[in-house]
């Protein structure tokens, strides 16, 4: 069986093929040795200032421009920007952690609200002394950035990041679906009941492959905005003392009233009446088929179903304008409005900026980069596609949103300006466990009728455990 002719000749052929492939492989390996060892990457391990960003946040051209501009400004500081290609925050964090474990951590890490306090507590350096030193230079920045964003980057009285972008949860409404339902665009002071009624109208006027309201099962855009709306939070929220050094220097009296040294999220209150009421409301929407049960996992392309009119309303931030445009949605085919009023009309946001690592040996240079990255011209170059909301008020202009929409683009920043109590998602240093627990029990609570109360009881137990655990 092994020695038949056809086998032999083909085998010989294969053998010569293998020799050829082997030789080619050897030659190829030799030729690409520099590629294999990374020796062809300029400026590697040369003591550069290393900045790690989340790769999907900026496109490569923007990152190029970012580094080029900094080099022109500080030719003496070699810079390397590593855009980590992670699917989500936890992948990104896994990568950074491994580097920290190996002692090869970057100097600066792009951190969103989720990680602000974790970094501040365990890894970061307060920026206070530099901010004080360069106060004159920064006055223009702070005047352009809402204090709520700045406050969300504070931890126990110290500032840890300069916010460069944020996304507040507003309601996106599909105009085509509104028209089909014969409904007008809701006013800014609409109520939760108006919202429910609108969903019913949408449902009535559409076929079975349509869902009036769609949401994500995350801290941001999931249950939490409704908790805020109902005047509560997952964890009891209070303000740390301190911070007046910053408020008194940069903000007028009206803006600094009630500000503190950053949020403290402590006691879990998942079993409180307000939280339960919020879940009951969401459960009732699901019961009525006005919204789907929340999905876990990543890779949801909500943009796709919303832009094609299979979803009528969904919570999203400024980042969606760019996404809808990419998906082919016309600028006037949708619009945004604030969350409807329930007990309050407090809304929720997440922000991001660069955090400096304690282990960095180039902290002064790192500070220069932080300042540079918060400049208006730099941010303008970076945020071109409306895949996020710039933290600077003056960058939100009619021109910016002309091509992508929405018509009511002012809503994005007015969510902060007109509602000064709008706050960050609850993200204590134990944020990862809090998120996991929230995701898990929200899924259970809303997976079947009458499971809200038991699920919240278990959520409370797990949250208490998580919050007690020192990191």
């Amino acid at each position: 069986m092994w020695m038949t002719d056809s086998h032999l000749s083909r085998r010989a052929l294969l053998r010569y093929g293998a020799y050829g492939a082997g030789a080619a492989a050897l030659a190829g390996t030799a030729a690409s040795w520099d590629r294999l060892t990374g020796a062809d990457i300029p400026g590697r391990d040369d003591g550069s200032l290393v900045v790690a960003t989340l790769g999907s946040a900026f496109d490569p051209a923007a990152v190029q421009a970012l580094s080029a501009g900094f080099r022109k400004l500080h030719p003496d500081v070699p810079l390397r920007v590593n855009a980590v290609q992670a699917v989500d925050w936890s992948d990104f964090f896994a990568k950074i952690l491994t580097q920290i474990a190996a002692g090869t951590a970057p100097d600066l890490v792009y951190v969103a609200t989720e990680g602000v306090q974790l970094f501040a507590q365990r890894l970061g350096v307060p920026l206070d002394r530099w901010v004080r030193r360069d106060a004159a230079e920064l006055r223009e920045y702070f005047a352009d950035v809402h204090p709520s964003l700045v406050e969300s980057m504070m931890y126990e009285g110290s500032l840890h990041q300069l916010p460069v972008e944020f996304n507040a949860a507003d309601m996106y409404l599909n105009r085509q679906v509104l028209n089909r339902a014969g409904a007008g665009f809701p006013p800014a002071d609409w109520t939760r009941d108006d919202f429910t009624a609108l969903l019913r109208e949408m449902k009535r006027s559409s076929d079975s492959h349509f869902t009036p309201y769609f949401w994500t099962n995350r801290l941001w855009g999931g249950v939490v905005p409704w908790l805020f709306d109902n005047g509560t939070n997952l964890l009891a929220e209070s303000r740390a003392p301190g911070g007046s050094w910053l408020w008194d220097t940069f903000y007028p009296a009206a803006d600094r009233a009630g500000r503190g040294g950053g949020f403290r999220w402590t006691t879990p209150q998942a079993t409180s009446a307000r939280v339960e009421e919020t879940y009951d409301y969401l459960a009732s929407l699901i019961q009525e088929d006005l919204c789907t049960r929340p999905e876990g996992g990543n890779g949801t392309n909500l943009v796709g179903v919303f832009s094609t009119g299979r979803v009528g309303v969904t919570p999203a931030g400024g980042f969606w304008a760019g996404g809808l445009h990419l998906a082919g949605m016309k600028a006037n085919a949708y619009d945004v409005q604030y969350f409807p009023r329930w007990r309050t009309q407090r809304m929720q946001f997440g922000a991001a900026g660069y955090a400096m690592l304690r282990t960095s040996k180039k902290q002064d240079a790192a500070w220069e980069f932080i300042k540079y990255a918060a400049r208006k011209d730099v941010m303008t170059e970076l945020f071109t596609a409306n895949q996020t909301t710039p933290a600077r008020r003056s960058m939100l202009t009619a021109g910016r949103y002309r091509e992508t929409g929405p018509t009511r683009w002012q809503v994005f920043y007015d969510t902060l300006d007109k509602f000064p109590d709008t706050g960050p998602i609850p993200a204590p240093p134990q944020v990862a466990e809090v998120t996991d627990v929230l995701l898990k029990y929200t899924g259970t609570a809303l997976a079947s009728p009458r499971s809200v109360a038991p699920a919240l009881r278990r959520m409370q137990g797990d949250l208490e455990q998580a919050m007690e655990r020192a990191l």
Partner: protein
């Protein structure tokens, strides 16, 4: 091989004393050198890149380590902790349920298809089918899970539309506990069955035609009889397919991670997901290592049981 008895007979004669005494010592030295040379790349690589890290993980499982601060000795605290942690326990249950259902389904589908394909049909058609069934294996599990998430969406997905054509009401594939587990299993099996399938195709090809002819002469006809003769002959293949299938299934990660993120609740959280979350999301590397050690022990135990069972049920020709 077609005739193992013959080669087994030869093997016996080869190891007979005369052959050994004839062998010159130089040859023996050569063999030893050759053995060392042949084994070195694999063994050294495994020691450096697997054994050392595993030992590191085992050591780490007795420490508290958050990556940021130096590790501190914790004794058996991590193991005690996970023993009373409902998420960990549920993840082991989920993983075992997943393993049993996924491997069983995978083997049944693969075997049925291989047997069906074994019947008479044009060669090119056989080849087309064979390629089709193997195809999902060349795809990335993570990418295809992203695609599957669209397809299994309750409201907009193609799957519910398809079953709707047969009058079946939409299934909450990803948002109910049973639906989610079913989806993870379906997506996993869809991608993996091709491997077992090819193993079976190979195994069937190696069953000599004479055996079926002999059986037919004895009056054994019909599909069931056919199977009764085929299965024992296929049992070595079945062993390999199930061992590899089980080892892989116990480490399932991408599909539930992308499709459901372990939910709703903990219903699709697998052991490897818990390891990932504990380590990289919650900075509890000691606990993550302890869970990893338990998983390793479980896989070893299951594999050992399989090999033990195989001594009774696997027939070599």
């Amino acid at each position: 091989m077609t005739n193992t008895q013959i080669s087994a007979g030869r093997a016996r004669s080869a190891s007979a004393p005369p052959a050994v005494s004839v062998r010159p010592p130089a040859r023996e030295r050569g063999t030893r050198l050759l053995t060392a040379l042949f084994l070195t790349p694999t063994i050294v690589g495994i020691v450096v890149f697997t054994v050392v890290p595993i030992v590191g993980s085992i050591v780490l499982s007795f420490f508290d380590w958050n990556v940021i601060d130096p590790p501190s000795f914790a004794g058996g605290a991590n193991y005690r902790e996970i023993a009373s942690d409902s998420t960990v326990l549920v993840s082991f249950r989920n993983t075992l349920v997943f393993m049993v259902l996924a491997v069983a389904l995978q083997l049944v589908i693969a075997l049925s298809l291989a047997l069906t394909l074994n019947g008479r049909m044009p060669g090119w058609l056989r080849s087309v089918f064979r390629s089709a069934f193997f195809f999902p294996l060349v795809l990335s599990a993570a990418s295809i899970s992203v695609v599957m998430k669209y397809l299994f969406n309750q409201d907009f997905g193609v799957v519910n539309w398809l079953i709707g054509l047969f009058g079946i009401a939409p299934v909450p594939w990803l948002t109910s506990e049973h639906g989610a587990m079913a989806t993870v299993i379906i997506v996993y099996v869809w991608q993996q069955f091709g491997f077992s399938f090819l193993l079976f195709v190979g195994g069937l090809n190696n069953i000599p035609k004479e055996i079926h002819e002999a059986a037919a002469l004895d009056g054994a006809t019909g599909p069931r009889k056919h199977l009764a003769i085929t299965l024992p002959l296929l049992s070595p293949t079945l062993l390999v397919a199930s061992v590899v299938g089980i080892i892989n299934a116990l480490q399932v990660f991408e599909q539930p991670y992308v499709l459901t993120d372990g939910g709703p609740g903990d219903s699709t959280r697998t052991v490897v997901m818990v390891i990932y979350e504990r380590a990289f999301e919650q900075l509890r590397f000691g606990e993550a290592s302890a869970v990893g050690v338990l998983l390793f022990v479980l896989i070893m135990a299951v594999t050992a049981v399989q090999f033990r069972l195989s001594r009774r049920f696997v027939h070599y020709q």
